[in-house]
Amino acid sequence: MELLVLNGLVNGLIVGGVYALIGLSLTLLYGVLRIVNFAHGEFVIGGSFLAYVLFSSLGLAPLLALPVAAITFFAAGWLAYYVLIPRLARSDDPEIMSFLMMYGLSLALAAVMLLMFEADSRSIDYAFTPISMKVGPIYVSTARIVAFGVTIVISAALAWFLYRTLPGKALRATIMNREAIQIVGVDVEKLSAFAFALATGIAGVTGVLIALVFPAFNAFSGAEYSIIGFIVVVLGGLGNPVGALIAGVIYGLAEQLATVFLPQALAQIVGFGILVGTILIRPTGILGWRVQR
């Protein structure tokens, strides 16, 4: 039993790291642009599929797929921003309209992936040497350890970017007060495009990591990851990057430990239950934001 729990803890950390990144990119998008990205899960799975394609057709190792995913998705995000977002801001009800648009985008992206890859589950059969490593008394797959390592590096890089560089600080300032930052002379449009591109890029990279951490994925997996993203973001507080990181790890731990003690389906219900409960009972998440109408 202790081994199972230990397993749960270690995997919880690894899975939590991935969830944290999903939450981080989602919360960045919301914080800067006030957009709830219902298509975020599809962005992430798109990254997974990209890694899959690179591996199966070019034999590219997943680790090398990371920079490709980062660049491709960053560029795609930049483009998508200018095509989709500016009209939104001018509409009657930008909040609701952004839900709908991202919802449509999630349908469209899922459909594209469905057409390209059918409904079958895919996975990347990349074999690390050794296949697994011993961490204390338990064995953990090397792929997962590598993914965790990458997660740490990316999180650290993002943290450094957000808190130590000027564009990063500008992003954080925009999250806090979008109007004020324009007065100070920052080109909000470009900053927003950058934020969108950055969030998309992180999502794509996270997708590659998902291919390493989880056994398989398919065109419909996007929806699950979107929901996980929401749970993490709500727990951490909408627009709060640090909150998302913490909440992601906590949620990952909770999820993996729950599967040790509970049947699979029940664990899923617990996940959603945590989401609903948090919003209703402790609406500010870990580090607050106004929730009521």
Binding site: L88, I96, F99, Y103, A108, V112, I227
Partner: protein, 327 residues
């Protein structure tokens, strides 16, 4: 005031004539719709197509109550539909109810679920949408994991050979007319005004004497009743119910898109949107069955970018003076 008596009378006359035009238009539309659908089986037109057309008109219209009139975006709307479907199926198959007796219970089940979800009504836009989605997933998971004896597990329930296409078609028509009538009433009623005030500024409405919590609840329960009924009737029509189809997120997606395409906040909007989009869907599906989902997604994006107020909404924006005459 000197002019009051003189000006009030022509104003009252003008008001009455506007009212008459409004209800005449409503009667014409309602009449056309009724006659058309009544004749569908008589002339042997595609029963399935028209059944679902009526279903989507009803779903989009009821959804409009929650979104256009009340200001919510319940992305978990399918929960009511699914619960309604299973209620009818269980009552008919497990307890031997006649279908017509089971259907009202579906409606009641929807209302009960609405009451259960009522605490979420105080949440703001994003949080409400997300929680709604999560609650629908929870409903689906709970039903999927209930014992097979009750809900049929992953195979679902068969209603036995009680399918009566023509009768269920006409029942669907009655429900659609009931929904449209309710929304027509709502749009002119005091509750409707209160709802819209709460939608525009809940705090201000509160300070103007509106019981915000109660008003929101009434609107929500109306919006919960009809999709549940739809779920029950569709279960009867197709003769089978399972969690995948009963709680399909695509049901919410289509409802939302059809309602938005027509225009939220008006009575005719969802009707126009549903008819337009269902025709589009049928056309595309015949030619390109595989890209159905893709077209739906792109259509949504295009709608938001180019026609955010929907067809009727955009029309009324261009001609605001018509607002009083168009239901």
């Amino acid at each position: 005031m000197e002019l009051e008596g003189n000006a009030a009378a022509p104003r009252a006359a003008e008001r009455d004539s506007a009212r008459r035009i409004y209800f005449t238009l409503a009667a014409i539309i309602g009449g056309l719709v009724s006659v058309y659908f009544v004749l569908v089986p008589v002339f042997g037109l595609n029963l399935a197509f028209h059944f679902y057309l009526m279903l989507w008109i009803t779903m989009a219209s009821a959804f409009n109550v929650a979104s256009g009139f009340s200001g919510y975006m319940p992305f978990g709307y399918v929960a009511f539909y699914g619960v309604g479907a299973f209620t009818t199926a269980i009552l008919v198959q497990k307890l031997g109810f006649p279908v017509l007796a089971a259907l009202p219970f579906s409606g009641i089940a929807g209302v009960v679920l609405g009451l259960l979800f009522a605490p979420t009504l105080r949440l703001s836009g994003i949080y409400f949408a997300i929680v709604s989605l999560a609650l629908a997933s929870i409903c689906r998971l709970i039903i999927t994991n209930m014992p097979e004896e009750i809900t049929g597990g992953s195979f679902g329930l068969q209603l036995g050979s009680r399918a009566e296409p023509v009768l269920s078609f006409y029942v669907m028509m009655l429900v659609m007319l009931l929904a449209l009538g309710t929304i027509l009433w709502l749009s002119r009623s005091r509750l409707g005004k209160a709802l819209r005030a709460v939608r525009d500024d809940a705090e201000a409405a509160d300070m103007m004497g509106v019981n915000v919590v109660r008003v929101r609840l009434y609107g929500w329960l109306i919006a919960a009743f009809f999709p549940a009924l739809c779920g029950g009737i569709e279960a009867w029509y197709t003769n089978v119910v399972d969690t995948e189809t009963a709680f399909n997120t695509l049901t919410t997606a289509k409802t939302v898109i059809y309602a938005v395409a027509g225009g939220l906040g008006t009575v005719t909007g969802p009707i126009v949107g549903a008819i337009g989009m269902v025709w589009l869907d049928e056309l595309i599906w015949r030619q390109f069955p595989r890209v159905n989902l893709l077209i739906l997604g792109i259509a949504t994006i295009a709608l938001v970018l180019f026609l955010p107020r929907g067809i009727v909404g955009t029309l009324l924006r261009r001609r605001p003076q018509w607002r009083r005459y168009i239901p």
